[in-house]
Amino acid sequence: MKQWLNQHQQALQIVLTRMRHNLLATLLMFCVMGVTLCLPGILYVIVDNLNRLAGDIKGEPQISLFLKQDIKADTINDLDKKLSLHAAVKTYRFVSKDTAWQDLQATSGTAEITHNLEKNPLPDAYFVTPRNLEPVAIEALQQEMQQWSGVEIAQADANWVKRLYAMLELGKKAILALVLLLGFALIAIIGNTIRLQILTQREEIEVSRLIGATDRFIRRPFLYAGAIYGLGGGLAATLFLASVITLFNSSVTEIAASYGSNFHLALPSLATSLIMIASALSLGWIGSYIAVGRSLSKLN
């Protein structure tokens, strides 16, 4: 056990000494990895924040029927009957102009605007949830309702929400693709760096083998080197990502404030950062393992 620890400590020491001797090259390597990892990181932050923003919006598609301002109570009753009998309507909900007005006044941020208005500009409205949620069916229903008397505007307001969700889904897939591609790139970068290091230490490896070094002994320092490159890259990426977000945040909060929102970009959580660092470390280890394995079998 003590010997085992000794060997690991010794391998780590060798690697750290080598890295200290080539400090500039090592730091550059960290930067390369950091920037590479940072790209999907930034995309993740964007999608994650949009997701947060979209979370407040109900995903259920709805058709809003805004009624004419001068509508009569009879017409409203007619509409109510039509909706309750309509086969394509699942549920519907009536919101009178007075209720809507009170709601709007209660909403923070808009109180100032509503205060300045002399009378209620809002119409009566129905909010209809269709039975069939296919975009085509919703559009057909919306066009039919547009023709009904007393209806000023029939609006299928679900489409943009759906599009947003579709785009978020696309964003997640883009992250996945980017992570896979760049992960592959990282393995290649680290693998190549390790391969070059093996070449410069070829003599040492050959002599070590002749005097009884196991493959594991030879592999160990290179695996540590790969893992350390990954660790450094992961830390650099976290640092870069935090800086980029902080830089963006001052502008984002300004824009959001002009919309009366206190939205800001959230820094990646501790768990996200740890996952990023851990995966960078494993990628470094894997890249190094592949490179050493190939070189060792070539030397054989």
Binding site: Q7, Q9, E203, E204, I211, G212, A213
Partner: protein
Amino acid sequence: MIRFDQVSKRYPGSHEALKGVSFELQQGEMVFVLGHSGAGKSTLLKLIAGIERPTSGTVLINNQNVSKLRPAALPYLRRKFGLVFQDHKLLYDRNCFENVALPLYINGVTGSEAGKRIRAALDKVGLLGKEKAMPITLSGGEQQRLAIARAVVSRPSVLIADEPTGNLDENYATEIMGIFDAFRQVGVSVIIATHNLHDTGDARVLRLNQGQLLSAEEGALPA
């Protein structure tokens, strides 16, 4: 301790380097492998140290058949031997101390225990004052002695040297042979390949010619 039984070795695309060689060596023996270059001396040493495997025949080391060993077990076999190579194979990017440290590190010996043994090995070959020197600054004889220090630092039971005096003038050569003899006297088996008959003294000689063993005469061990 070391037994060759009808051992042949053929390198791919080449003639047979060794043909049907049989002999046996006892623990603590000093043996010279004598022959012209190309006679198969290096191949013989490589077969003993488990660096090469025989094409046919059996090589037994401590009653273990080398051909039947798993590749993963070979490194542990090699650790039983201290190897001195024809071209030293010193590492020129580190100082003498670190060169000698390599076999100990491979065996997992580090720290003050390693330091003690490294200095002892350097002392035995007369290089104690040069532990911080880089190998490139040493003379040919000193480099060879450094290689011997590296070979003996992990206290192997067998010392194998391939043409250890090949590139040295006579004074240095005598000195090196004296060092080997000192190890023999403390019970280490010593196997030395050489093309120079004068080196052998009255020790046992394995005479090789074109891959064949001409004689395995028993000589009286030098006093």
